[in-house]
């Protein structure tokens, strides 16, 4: 097990290195940040000064070298726009993102798993059709549109929920549902197909032949086996939620990491974009590793 974890850790570092090169190059394609940082009508010299100040006048390999060496010391650099350490900025936004992703995950699992189970147990019947429509809606309605609809309905017409901002539990409701909506549909579909597969297995047949009550057959023999792929997906989705909330966070003015990334791109704030993307990548890599280890804990057959 120890060797397995070390090996996986090595692969993870390689992926992160490749990600760092990619984001470093791509963010520089967006244009010259100096143009956005000076007042209109600034002279060529002013622009040049700003470029020098941020080291943007250096050749790319040199820029990358200094980026990676300070990164290895734990320094993500200074934001061009806020003029504060990027890591501080990131960490001040992260709790909001985690809270939002956590709430969205709870919503998606509470909705997705039971509906998936019901759809599988009542396959091709009324409930299954309702579930299919729900999954189709979930997967085809973009989160910003769901968010805007909810704002229109719950904030504008009914006045029940605040349309944007953060601070209270009420502020959390709509962004969490808007973000969790797609994932609820994905979790429902996977739960359904995974349950269907398990319900057709020989050991479920034997459980029925033993004379177990149907509720026990489903909750014990089928559910635990069907949960394995759903848990994997949920673990990876949690991290994806933290990192794809850009649109939802922008719609609801939620002060999370997604908003930070959006601002970073808008202002060509290279260190902010690099740090947000790299930290997001690191999170995804770590969660994948944790999920694999969790597998080994749940499933006695997996031994490395």
């Amino acid at each position: 097990m120890k060797g397995y974890i070390l090996r996986r850790l090595g692969y993870s570092l390689v992926s992160l290195f490749l990600l760092s090169v990619t984001i470093f190059l791509f963010v520089r394609v967006t244009g010259d940040p100096a143009v956005l940082l000076v007042e209109p009508g600034a002279s060529k010299d002013d622009l040049e000064m700003i470029r020098q100040q941020f080291g943007l006048d250096q050749p790319l390999p040199v820029q990358y070298g200094s980026f990676i060496t300070s990164l290895l010391r734990g320094d993500f650099g200074q934001s061009f726009y806020y003029r504060t350490p990027v890591l501080e900025l990131y960490l001040s936004r992260l709790p909001h993102s985690l809270l939002l992703a956590g709430a969205a995950m709870v919503f998606s699992l509470v909705v997705g798993i039971p509906t998936g189970i019901i759809a599988a147990v009542r396959v091709n019947r009324w409930w299954d059709s309702v579930g299919k429509i729900f999954a189709l809606l979930g997967l085809s309605m973009p989160s910003f549109w769901v968010g805007l609809l909810m704002i229109l309905f719950f904030s504008v017409y009914l006045g029940w929920l605040p349309s944007s901002g953060s601070g209270t539990l009420l502020h959390l409701v709509m962004p969490a549902i808007a973000l969790g909506w797609v994932f609820a549909a994905a979790h429902m579909r996977l739960t359904r197909s995974s349950m269907l597969e398990v319900l057709g297995s020989e050991y479920v047949k034997l459980a029925r032949l033993k004379g177990l009550p149907e509720a026990l057959v489903i909750s014990k023999h089928a559910f635990k086996n069907a949960l394995i792929p759903v848990l994997t997906l949920a673990g990876i989705n949690l991290v994806i939620m933290v990192n794809v909330a850009v649109v939802v966070e922008t719609v609801f003015a939620w002060p999370g990491v997604g908003r930070l990334l959006y601002e970073g791109i808008a202002f060509r704030d290279f260190p902010v974009v690099q740090a947000t993307v790299l930290l997001g990548g690191a999170m995804i890599v770590i969660v994948n590793l944790l999920v694999d280890i969790l597998y080994a804990v749940i499933d006695p057959r997996i031994r490395y």
Binding site: K205, A207, L209, K210, G211, H221
Partner: protein
């Protein structure tokens, strides 16, 4: 007890496609009888309806399966009139079943002890502790060494032969009157097969079990069974005492099956295969289902399905030649 343990009369089970347009007659008008403690072998090619017949007896058919007519009388009770809850109390308790694939029939996420103890806890309301100690005794009964450590192991830690013995332990856990074994040795090595068959026979004697043995191996039937029923295309084409059917088969299909068994030291007769393919259960030929492959086919066979003729005492055959 008066009367046989199990009486199946004119049982038909169909599979109906989702839109109800296609009907497969998996089991068609099957009648058979089994005395307490006796052994019945059900023989047939794949798709002949053997497994569907077994699943019908326990009413655990896949969703598309329907028992459309007939009667199943077990210890004098009509199983087709039972509610689902009553049926559940019969499964595993009074009628147990062993499935074909020992690799797939145990749940990978629970220990052996848990799975053996489960029916005891559900049917007899035993406590966890007493069910577990009973599970250990059962493992010993199916000749598993070191049962006290095996109960805590998971299925993947055991060999195929051991798993199938555990499935056997589950089957006898609540002392059923009838055990249905659906090709229990097909996926085992030959040496393990023989061991397992001996084990089943010993268990049968020890617990006075009636046994329904589903197989396509006529050699096993000869070794294990008192009665044999031959299925073809969902129908029982011939049934009777093993010795009689092996020596004087009445139905051409049975005769062909017997001629296709290789015999050691017999080089004079060529091994004969049955011409043609087993029929598609969803599109059975009209008349007698065997007529396209039958060496003695007559015009009447194509037009009309033969009824069950009595050839001798307890020996029946569905062939016009037996009429």
């Amino acid at each position: 007890m008066s009367g046989p343990l199990l009486e199946v009369r004119n049982l038909s089970t169909h599979y109906v496609s989702a839109r109800g347009t296609r009907v497969t007659r998996a089991v068609d008008d099957v009648t058979l009888t089994l005395e307490a403690g006796a052994t019945l072998g059900i023989v047939g090619e794949s798709g002949s309806g053997k497994t569907t017949l077994a699943l019908s007896l326990l009413r655990v058919l896949p969703p598309a399966g329907r028992i459309v007519s007939g009667e199943i009388s077990f210890e004098g009770e009509d199983l087709l009139r039972k509610s689902n809850a009553e049926m559940r109390r019969i499964r595993g308790k009074r009628i147990a079943m062993i499935l074909q694939d020992p690799m797939a029939s145990l749940n990978p996420l629970f220990t052996v002890g848990d799975q053996v103890a489960e029916p005891i806890r559900v049917h007899d309301g035993a406590s966890r502790r007493s069910a577990w100690s009973r599970a250990q005794e059962l493992l010993k009964a199916v000749r598993i060494a070191a049962p006290e450590t095996r109960v805590r192991e998971y299925p993947h830690q055991l060999s195929g032969g051991m798993r199938q013995r555990i499935v056997g332990a589950i089957a006898i856990s609540c002392e059923p009157r009838l055990l249905i074994a659906d090709e229990p040795t097909t996926s085992l090595d030959l040496t393990i097969q023989a061991q397992y068959l001996n084990l089943l026979r010993d268990l049968q004697r020890a617990h006075h079990l009636a046994l329904i043995f589903i197989t396509h191996n006529l050699g096993i039937v000869a070794k294990m069974c008192d009665q044999v029923a031959v299925m073809y295309g969902g129908r029982l084409v011939e049934s009777g005492p093993v010795a009689r059917i092996y020596n004087a088969p009445a139905h051409p299909y049975t005769r062909a099956l017997l001629e296709s068994i290789p015999r050691l030291g017999d080089s004079r007769t060529r091994l004969t295969a049955i011409d043609g393919q087993p029929p598609d259960p969803a599109a059975l030929p009209g008349g007698c289902a065997f007529h396209p492959r039958c060496p003695k086919v007559m015009d009447r066979c194509r037009a009309e399905a033969p009824p069950e003729f009595s050839v001798a005492n307890a020996h029946t055959s569905r062939c016009w030649l037996s009429g």
